[in-house]
């Protein structure tokens, strides 16, 4: 079955232009489509939560597979709604607490898995010899040594910048932290630079949508 309909394309295209108009100034058309957007998004979430989560993970196991204890999940969910009452609203904290607890408990494994390899990856030899480089490497041992030294210097200086529990009065400390700050700016510039292309790609995709799918040009 088709995923597209001319009427839908028209609404989509006019909405696109309306949302774009914000860059000129806020206006009535923008406001209208902003509200339509938020409404559709909420409707879609209702649909998605039911079909993607509640029905397969809760309703079907409970009612068709005989896993009746899933009813307790409804109880847990219902406790959130006590927030609207003065008398019972403390109970919402039971469910909130459970969610927070689960998230907290996972943090051990997550921290280990994300950061241990990065710690290990920071063990860089400051003096590299030819046999330490992978075969066929184009970098010279001296070049790699310099890279590695720079790598370690940046890690140390940036981490130093983020020490909070003492004043950066000591001259060496001040210089290190200042280097860290400058390195951060360099890194942020690199991120900014690599983002521009992504944003342009999105705009081009939209202009192409307007030109090709709506107006049939190209």
């Amino acid at each position: 079955m088709e995923w597209s309909h001319p009427v839908g394309v028209w609404v989509g295209a006019i909405g696109t232009l309306a949302l774009f108009s914000l860059i000129y100034r806020e206006n009535r058309l923008y406001r209208l489509f902003e509200h339509l957007f938020i409404g559709l998004a909420a409707g879609y979430t209702i649909k998605a939560v039911w079909t993607e989560t509640l029905r397969p993970q809760w309703w079907v196991p409970m009612t068709s597979e005989g896993r009746w204890p899933w009813v307790f999940a409804l109880f847990g969910g219902a406790l959130f709604y006590t927030i609207f009452t003065r008398k019972y609203n403390w109970m919402s904290r039971i469910s909130i607490g459970a969610l927070l607890g689960f998230a907290a408990g996972q943090s051990f494994q997550a921290t280990a898995n994300v950061y241990i390899p990065q710690i290990r990856g920071s063990f860089k030899a400051l003096w590299v010899t030819r046999d330490m480089l992978p075969p066929g490497s184009l970098v010279t041992p001296l070049g790699q040594s310099l890279n590695n030294i720079l790598f370690v210097v940046i890690i140390v200086s940036v981490m130093t910048y983020f020490f909070f529990s003492f004043e950066h009065r000591n001259k060496a400390l001040m210089t290190t932290a200042r280097t860290g700050r400058l390195m951060l700016m360099f890194a942020f510039g690199a991120i900014f630079g690599s983002t521009v292309m992504a944003r342009m790609a999105l705009l081009i995709d939209r202009v192409w949508f307007l030109m090709n799918k709506w107006l049939g040009i190209g």
Partner: protein
Amino acid sequence: MSNPLQRLESIDRRILYAVLLIIVVVGLLVPIPLPLAVGPQARGVYEAIENADPGKIVIVSTLWSASTQGENSPQTRVILQHLMRKRLRFALIAFGDPQSTTLAQELAEELARENSYEYGKDWINWGFRADIAGTLKGLVKDINETIKTDSIKKRPLSEYPVMQGIHNVKDVGVIAEVSASGNYVSWLGLVVGSTNAPFCYAPTSVMAPELYTYLDSGQMKGMLFGIKGAAEYERLLGIRGFTTRAITPVSLSLVLLFVLIGLGNYGMYAAKKRDQKGANG
């Protein structure tokens, strides 16, 4: 008093926007062929798929929505094209936004028709999962128990020939995620340590810089750097698609930015000189 050069310091934002729009429209209409170098990151993804064990299944995870389709859709497309060319089995799974499963499925269906890939035999859609951590932990243990049913026909996974001999993440040949968010942390944290399958990533170019650290540490085997990565991949596959066309206006708009930054700085310099003159005189 007001020298036109000094006004370059503060051009009205709306003029900037109008110029950008014109450049994009013209760039799309008049394609200018530009050279493109294939980087080692894209090659890493290509080689991971090229060398994948045909007995195993490839997981293509998607975490993107229409908002980033400008980059993520071409990336998903080239990866699927490559998988189908190699006739590798693959499973789609989606996180983050429920629509990511629909969008990926739409692409897969389109390409499957072209490549006579049969649903259930050559590929399968595991569907969308809201709980990333729970699902990924489950995949490591038992795929059938975690996914239960596919998302198109809603039948148990074990009924599909494509799932023959696939039990857990050790039976996976390559894991590739096309993503608009930082979900790689979950994959690295919960899955990659438990399997030998190479892990490849196709992020938006925004996210790409933060991934070099994982490429460097070897946790990731390859990466498609936004739309440029997709264009490089098209080149590796020998295809000329929309991506190859779009890369021209992308370049032009960046050139515009260079010009604007130059003008802004020149204007600032001119204004400063005037101020100094004013102070001296």
